[in-house]
Symmetry: C2
């Protein structure tokens, strides 16, 4: 982590984060600024660890800064046109590969889910039509529990980080948080298969969150710069061994994930822009657009292939696409009024959803912490609960006579009219919702011109079940997306509202269901443009746009008064040190110096090997200021910043000298810039890999060639708010704080993202009013 490994207070530090040694606090003056020279030791003990999976892991930051040292400059100058060309080819090649692979995973996921759950549902329906109701339940619940256990086992034993949606993790990564294993190959594997098993098991979970995570994992794998272990090394790949290019790739991956999950290429781009990414360049818009276009083409090709019946039970419907275009969209002011009410209540219910998910997650994190067995048991109990609801509740519904115009009851797996226990010519409307995959249930709810298909009481029961099952299911140890549960509950809510407003509104209930989904999505996710586009791409009707926009605006505005969006909430709950785009008002009362941690460890331009090793061993710092002193400069001056990873490479190379002399030339000759390229998360040289004997400990090493001579600096009196915005806008890992006066040592301290976290600052200065 960025500063100290010493602390492991467990979870309450992370969740509430104010558990700090108060004796270390400094004087706090009411004037709001503190300008004494920094003498006492002030240690940042908060937000250095986060819950990934159910484990507590140390948190690193990513390096997005352009490092300017002699070696890298040499490399820039020598870079030829052909190398720039290679880089561009590779950049677009990777975008293509990410699109292809994510599209393939998306189609695989769909085919697998449709076949597994289709088989299960057909078997159940078959047994029921023979009146073997107990056996049918045994098959249904047994199948669900078996699939759920398999998913949970994968998550618990192989990759705990694969549990949950994955969007908060991707969001945190793109903000600059590097947590162990969130984008590892094992996570990718479990995410794909766990998601298939989990969705097939009939849980109220979706596959879009996991698809986003999958896309990001695929992109991350490509950005590793090859693998020596598997002999996948290729000179071209080394260009991508830095966090900036990885960030771009993973943004493309996240967009591809949404595109593959919803068949919504433009929605994917906007999702990446609005929700996932923290930094954006217009060049990236262009590249993510290309990636999602590739995904769309892959999906389309496979749909055409599957149309011939070669994909088993998979039909085009598996790739969710709800067609509401049959309904005419003409609305009057009474309809608008109904829609306003729908949006408002939807916003409230959406924010309540977030609140409840937060509570449930806190309870589950205690259970999940106890180990793999507890995790699996929790999953099994939720699977049992879900199965009981799905199979049990339809018994309470009355049989409804079939409408004459359609084939009813259906016998295929995704039918709109399920017979359940009803005699011929009748159907059970609750079973039409419960005994289907979530995608098909949503399709039934959004179907137009079927106003009276569902009883109001049935809608109410299903709404309550979907709402609460969605909440209790998120957080168990399976990959679980949040979009589908929210759309499901929202569609049911919308249809309910539509039925209630039937006397005064002429809008189709299918459209009401769509607007209900929009209001719930707005209330929980708090996205706007991207949700709008995703919904339009799902429903293929642009005439709905003004109404969908209106509902999203209202529900987001309403919900924003209560709490944060669900992904932001999970990011916070997990303890990721996420940098917000804006500074909190109280940060204006403090200056950069106030939160600078101590003590500062600095190196000389030519430093003794032993000192460096000691510093690396005793601190967890990742960046050290290098200060030039006479005879190398006239007065002490800040030469720059040297990174731990670069120091390790340099020490391993052992270009030492007996005397304190400049040896830059030799180092530049011995090393290539790519030796210092940043390895993937968790890789690279470790301190234990170094073998340095006592004699070498007394020798000197010249740090100048690897020192970043132009680190970003701020003056100590800059307000914390301005410093935080600068830090976030530039995507920094280290920010040097320099003194106002030239009389003092040339650097006061280094700020990292942890120093900008509210828990830390409010821990240091408890008298500051956080909402002032």
């Amino acid at each position: 982590m960025d500063r100290e490994n010493s602390v492991n207070h467990g979870e309450d530090v992370v969740i509430d984060g104010r558990d700090i040694e108060h004796d270390q606090l400094m004087d706090w003056k009411e004037t709001g600024t503190y300008s004494q020279p920094l003498l006492s030791k002030r240690v940042n003990t908060t937000s250095q660890i986060a819950i990934v999976g159910a484990n507590v892991c140390p948190i690193e930051s990513l390096d997005y800064e352009i490092v300017e040292n002699e070696l890298f400059k040499q490399d820039w100058r020598s870079r030829k046109k052909v190398q720039i060309f290679q880089y561009i080819i590779l950049k677009w090649g990777f975008a293509l590969i990410i699109g292809l692979l994510t599209g393939l995973v998306g189609i695989f996921n769909n085919i697998a889910v449709e076949n597994i759950s289709g088989f299960k549902l057909l078997l159940t329906t078959d047994l029921m039509s023979q009146h073997k109701y107990v056996k049918a339940f045994a098959v249904f619940a047994g199948g669900n529990i078996g699939l759920a256990t398999a998913a949970a086992a994968l998550c618990a034993f192989i990759a705990p980080a694969a549990a949950g949606s994955g969007i908060p993790e991707v969001k945190a990564y793109l903000n600059g948080v590097d947590a162990y294993s969130i984008l590892a190959p094992s996570t990718l594997f479990v995410k794909i298969f766990g998601s298939v098993l989990g969705v097939s098991a009939g849980f109220v979970v979706g596959k879009e969150g996991p698809m986003v995570h999958t896309g990001a994992c695929i992109a991350s794998l490509l950005g590793q710069g090859g693998s020596r272990k598997y002999h996948l090394t290729w000179r071209w790949l080394r260009y991508f061994k830095n966090d900036r290019d990885r960030r771009d790739l993973i943004t493309c991956g996240a967009a591809a994930g949404v595109a593959a999950a919803f068949r919504a290429p433009v929605g994917g781009v906007l999702f990446a822009l609005e929700e996932a990414a923290s930094w954006w360049r217009s060049a990236l818009l262009w590249r993510t657009f290309f990636t999602t276009a590739v995904v769309a083409i892959v999906l389309r090709s496979f749909i055409q292939l599957c149309a011939t019946g070669s994909c088993g039970l998979f039909s085009e419907g598996g790739l969710i696409m709800y067609d509401v275009s049959a309904a005419e969209v003409i609305y009057s002011s009474a309809d608008i009024l109904a829609v306003l009410l729908l949006g408002t209540i939807g916003g409230i219910l959406g924010s309540l959803y977030n609140y409840l998910i937060d509570k449930v997650l806190r309870i589950y994190s205690i259970i999940n912490e106890r180990g793999a067995v507890s995790k699996i048991l929790l999953v099994i109990s939720i699977a049992l609960l879900t199965s009981c609801c799905a199979y049990g509740l339809p018994w309470f519904a009355k049989c409804i006579p079939c409408p004459t115009s359609v084939s009813c009851p259906n016998t295929d797996k995704s039918g709109n009219y399920k017979s359940f226990q009803c005699p011929a010519g009748y159907y059970n409307d609750l079973a039409s919702l419960f005994l289907n995959t979530n995608d098909d249930a949503i399709r039934n709810l959004l179907s137009t011109s079927t106003t009276r298909e569902f009883h109001i009481s049935s809608l109410f029961v299903f709404f309550a079940a979907a709402y609460f099952l969605g909440i209790v299911t998120y957080g168990i140890a399976i990959p679980s997306g949040l979009f589908i549960p929210v759309i499901l509950a929202g569609a049911c809510y919308g249809r309910l509202v539509g039925r209630l407003f039937e006397p005064i509104s002429k809008l189709d209930t299918g459209l009401f269901a769509l607007l209900g989904s929009a209001s719930f999505l707005g209330g929980t996710m708090r996205m706007t443009v991207s949700l709008c586009i995703i919904l339009l791409e799902l429903t293929n009707d642009l005439l709905l746009l003004p109404l969908v926009m209106l509902v999203l605006l209202i529900s987001k505005t309403v919900a924003d008064n209560f709490n944060k969006g669900v992904y932001d909430q999970i990011v916070k709950l997990k303890g990721f040190p996420y940098m917000e785009a804006h500074a909190e008002p109280y940060m204006r009362q403090l200056v950069a110096l106030d939160v600078v941690p101590g003590p500062l460890v600095t190196f000389s331009g030519v430093e003794k090997v032993g000192n460096i090793l000691h510093a690396l061993r005793t601190t967890g710092h990742n960046g050290f200021p290098v200060i030039d002193e006479p005879p190398f400069s006239e007065a002490p001056e800040l030469c720059g910043l040297v990174l731990r990873s670069h120091l390790l490479v340099l020490l391993k190379g052992k270009v030492f000298s007996r005397n304190r002399v400049l040896a830059g030339e030799e180092i530049v000759h011995r090393f290539a810039a790519f030796d210092f390229a940043k390895a993937g998360s968790g890789k690279g040289i470790k301190l234990e890999d170094l073998e340095i004997d006592d004699e070498e400990m007394e020798m000197y090493i010249d740090l100048h060639p690897i020192t970043n001579t132009s680190p970003y600096t701020v003056v100590e009196t800059m307000s914390l708010a301005k410093a935080a915005i600068l830090f976030r806008q530039l995507g920094l890992r280290h920010m040097c704080v320099v003194p106002k006066s030239q009389e003092r040592p040339p650097i006061v301290g280094i700020l990292t993202r942890h120093d900008f976290m509210s828990e830390h600052i409010l821990g240091l200065y408890p008298h500051v009013k956080p909402h002032d």
Copy 2:
């Protein structure tokens, strides 16, 4: 301008920009870095002026930096919850007003154009049906010339800045360039009425560029913080007297403009994001989305109102909406091949379009420079040319027998089948394209299931005419959008390709026309996601998405090999100092110090009034470093940066003291933070407004309370590339360059956007290879 008013080399400086005093150049070392102390006087003479309208105007930068001085800090601390609430209310209120007004202007524009040009066309058709062909031409050409002259007169005499598209100006403004009168009320007035007259005059111009400019002007007016002249002062408005809030408003305005022009609310948001804005926050996404939603609602309400026939000749079609959904979208690999070819050639033709527009603009700028009369004569000659083409070319077309299924020939103004000179039962296909408004011509080209409506030869003639008339029309002194000409030529090109590929491709020619428009748009504008969405919103068919994406990707990629996007080209041609998001490769070879201009003018913390006045009079600088010296500090130290506008306010307040003492308390009491709020472009206190007598000249003034104590600084050895990216990412106006060594004076110089312009840098260092 930011540094020197002294230079006015005229236009060639701006356009080619390398016309520099070479004796002022410094030694250039091949090593690429220069680190001698700066002694010589190096003046930036480039890119300080730009062509706005046809005049050459000085260019200022906008201040997006957060100024942290004592006065403003005091203000932050005292700001109450109610004030923050007022600010939020106003922020959303403004977004609402921008949406409403832009929507109203959009609908007014449409109704006016449809009625004026409809009347003109009906009269012409009427006369032709009576075989009075010469009189018909006289009416047609006379009407066109009359309207054109009116538009040109407005532009030439009232607001020269209103000529052209307006998108480049808005783009430059949002990049931080403040050019005189580009968003002034007179510009707004001329833009609205000039655009109506210009489009009605039958020119091959569109109304979307002008609508974007109109939206931006409306937003800019709201952001002025009221007006004392018209007694529009309201305390709440003062919150918006700063460039950051203005920037947000104008971004909303630009989005609203696109939304109003195309009835494309989501497209508007994306246009603002992809093309217009240089800085983006996700909060802005949300606000622009709200604005465009309001526009969409306004348009919809008026369309419903006009459906009753109360808007004269205006029909819904006036708000361009091309419905191609009748055509089935099923495509095979042969179709894809045709589409690939279409995209490639479209990209080439699009980039050729840009190239030719650039050439024509250079010629026109010479003509336009000669004065208002030349401008108007140029407009009249182009109007005459357009009229001759529109009326003359259809005579060469053969009469085609009418299809039996539709009413043909039409007699209404927007008809698909014009009879022209043909006998009953026949129609003239070229007249169907030429003797219509551009919107209707595009609708005819995009009409589906009418494969053989137009002869190949007619399509070819119309394509050639539209392509070249579009090029020669842009740059004359009328408000002229580029979208419609490009869509028009592109649709014709696409339909032509469709006809040629008829034997092998089953895609409807209407779809081909749409894809042709997409390829031209991609080839000229180089946008991706926003164009895609705009086209989808125009055509209301999401199933086309993959094909449209493909075409846009190909044509943009192809065209990017030849030149820049048309708006970037015009920005460059006009001489706006536009900061690109990325640094040029050669900037890595230079360091910040290399381009620092001299000499530097600094003030002491407590400075003599006379010195300040002298500096303000003799330089054009907008920011001055303040250096504290003993007795106010132990050693010389950089206290911060003071702005010209703040100095003027302070001097006007006359809080002087006879001795050199700190007088901060008094100043803080005498002034409120809002006294220093930034006035709108061209307003605020001027140097001439100050009346300071000789006695006062000898007095002292304390600059500390208005000094921004935390300006952004970079070390002199930072590479120019890194400094440029920092400058752009933070949206700076001044960047302080500090010395590496503490022995030297605390500041080396100040960089402004002009110092990062290629013309300046390559002028200083002609040996640097620009494309290395």
